[in-house]
Symmetry: C2
């Protein structure tokens, strides 16, 4: 039996234990955006650190971040071999609206082939495939085919504000030859996807303030400027009637979609129907002249993610109103430039009687994979051996701030090979993981580490 076959056989025999471990990991309510979960973040990090030691990794560390620690570990055994950076994140999105969940978000529940819990797919379930693969290699062979550096981020969902610095301090100067990230999706359980690009993201909050306090809607309504009404006007000004972004200059530096790329996206990407039906959407809507998939992966967008006021259901003229803007950027768009354009757009439109403030919470540029590299060939080969087919190269509309930052800071190859499905309901109620993807994902990781062992050192 080859080393790989032994690792595969071991992983298969440990599926129950891996699933138990995932259950326990999902029980931590690791919502990085909510300060009240600081204790849970620390407890989860401590538990992960114990797991990493247990599966045989060394030099396990818990490094403080802005709101949650990053857990790192390594395995250094091949003096001549390449170093692979594996990245995952254990923080999750908030669970609201909580009453839309069929079962408790932090009490993982199995129904059929699915495991339901916040973080089941994004990203605890996917990072677990790597931990299972590492354990299989280290238990059966006592070594890994590559030198490995593992990063488990606790701040991905809030833009990983300090991670790159922390990692650069931990492993200077150039800290890996290849990075592997499993935090993306497949077209189907047997149709792997290697992500060829990610959109960048600008997380911004527009805050309007008016009266010093909430005012009785009867006593003051109609006589004072209302920040909720002003906010609605500003938010409405961000798009024209067709759904195109109205911010002057927004599309200026966007790399155009060439006919060849368009044909490829049309052939390999999902149809409007395939993409939208699971989301309960009949027709795509947005910038005219593009398919739903093109809009989502190759065109920028200004998404109004939330609106709130200080009124909170009372009959008042609210003192404050706010909008969460989530701006997705594509190749060619500089975050700083888009912030400047947005500020200019808003500034000229603030009505009298209210004050406006734009707070930038996170920013990262788009990411684009270099094609035809040794790392990419290794990923293709791993997929061939597990799925019997090569991965489709497709861009994703999502963003992974650390990947963009990593790619911008050094010439590292980043393999984005994920095990989620597009109907996993990530960021939404009833998030789930298709369990066969966890097991097959583990298999791919075992094979991928083996294949990456042959990648030349940078």
């Amino acid at each position: 039996m080859s080393d790989t076959a032994a690792a595969q056989s071991y992983a298969r025999s440990r599926r129950g234990a891996t699933l138990d471990r995932l259950h326990r990991l999902l029980e931590y309510p690791t919502v990085s955006a909510e300060p009240r979960h600081a204790k849970d973040m620390n407890a989860c990090a401590a538990s992960l650190a114990r797991t990493l030691g247990h599966i045989g990794l060394r030099d396990v560390r818990i490094c403080p971040g802005r709101v949650a620690p990053v857990v790192t570990a390594s395995w250094q055994g091949r003096r001549e071999g390449p170093t692979v950076l594996v990245y995952g994140h254990y923080d999750v999105q908030p669970v609201e609206p909580k009453n839309a969940w069929t079962t408790e978000p932090f009490r993982p529940t199995r129904r059929g082939q699915y495991l339901y819990a916040r973080g089941a797919s994004d990203d605890k379930g996917q990072l677990m495939a790597h931990l299972a693969a590492i354990e299989a290699w280290l238990t059966t062979s006592g070594k890994l085919p590559v030198n490995l550096r593992l990063i488990l981020d606790g701040e991905e969902e809030i833009g990983s504000p300090t991670l790159l610095e922390a990692v650069a301090r931990r492993w200077p100067p150039l800290f890996a030859d290849v990075a592997v990230v499993s935090d993306t999706w497949m077209l189907a359980p047997d149709a792997p996807v290697l992500i060829s690009g990610l959109r960048g993201v600008l997380g911004a909050r527009l805050e309007m303030t008016g009266p010093a306090r909430d005012l009785h809607a009867g006593a003051f309504g109609g006589a004072v400027a209302n920040p909720a009404e002003a906010l609605a006007g500003l938010v409405a000004s961000l798009h024209d009637k067709t759904g195109r972004v109205s911010i002057s200059g927004f599309y200026e530096n966007v790399r155009p979609l060439r006919e060849k790329e368009r044909l490829r996206l049309g052939r390999t990407g999902p149809s409007d129907r395939a993409m939208l039906a699971p989301a309960g959407v009949m027709n795509s809507y947005g910038e005219p002249g593009f398919s739903a998939f093109e809009r989502a992966v190759r065109r920028p967008a200004v998404v109004v993610a939330d609106l709130q006021t200080s009124g909170e259901g009372r009959t008042v003229v609210p003192a404050r109103a706010g909008a969460d803007l989530n701006i997705r950027l594509v190749d060619g768009q500089e975050p700083e430039n888009v912030i400047r354009l947005l500020r200019r757009h808003l500034h000229s439109r603030i009505p009298p009687g209210v004050r406006g403030k734009l707070v930038i919470r996170s920013r990262c540029p788009a990411y684009k994979l270099r094609e035809d590299t040794a790392a990419l060939r290794a990923a293709r080969s791993a997929c061939r051996s597990v799925y019997g087919r090569e991965p489709v190269l497709l861009p994703s509309g999502g963003s992974i701030p650390f990947v963009s930052a990593l790619a911008a800071s050094c010439p590292i190859e980043v393999l984005l090979l994920g095990f989620g499905l597009r109907d996993d309901a990530i960021h939404a109620p009833n998030e789930r993981l298709y369990l066969p993807n966890l097991y097959r994902g583990t298999k791919v990781c075992i094979e991928l580490y083996e294949q990456l062992g042959g990648v030349p050192i940078a």
Copy 2:
């Protein structure tokens, strides 16, 4: 010592006990808009019923309402005298944003001459003046100068949906000669106001729905219609750039503001500065051509009281977004007609890819006092004797649904004589009552009952 003087003297000696009773009343979190407080509503009603029996009223009843009971009681002693209906409400507005409160909203706290608590001014503190006056009369003389019917509403803040029916069942057919309501404001502690009109109100909720669930903002942003963006567009369409309501026909039947009335409002009503400074507002904003006070009391308004989405802080394309609209109506505007105009306005503006729904939660027309009646003369006389001056007749921008309903159903006179101040922060954090107003309000009520004893029977 006259009967009135004895009652006044007794009330003065009982100030401490009255304040204790108010403290206990304020401790019940009687938020009628929040179903989780159903038990508190019942407990508060039961406690009030005990108090009413204790102060000497008879025929105390707790009648179930839609979400909270109404407590009624009466005193029937003057076969030839007029019947006075006294109305107050024990339900309160929600306390959000809770962290803006200096002290707990349901733990009444005294600071200087003020008592801070939700409901301190609106309306528990004001109704307490009536209970103290009733107690003083019944204890000292064993009778009241009028036949009294008392209504303590538990659903005022949600529009008193069933109260009129309940009361009509309780006391058919015409149930009083005069009504007295203390749920309004004074210009200053020594400047009483008799409200000459109330605005009507339409409580409506605009709900937009899009995708079947919240969608990841990266995976779908830019490719699907966003209900939050659609909502912002619709909300923004309700006003033009000057702050005037843009709903076609909205101002059509509004009774115009004549020069004479305008002069009177200018002379007796607050200046822009006096009205807005306590609210932390520099300049009035709204329909052009009117002062702040005119806008608030004599012109209709569409107030956006709150905005929400199902996103609640996550980075998603939200599945749902909603706006609470609080529309204030004036003399001449029919609620049903305004609903029709609003529906037509919204219907023609809903963008593709989302669905819109308008839910009407409450409605009542404006109310206008008939001037120069015996009841009005009684109120003037009571104010002269307590404050040394007559009350100023002023319209209010607020709405009391039961008053509008009452006035529409029978030719009863309604005296709106309140003890709140315009900076009591009602409906807002840190609501308070100026305690001298409670004591002087009690004095006015004692005197007013006496004066109303001479009003002819309808």
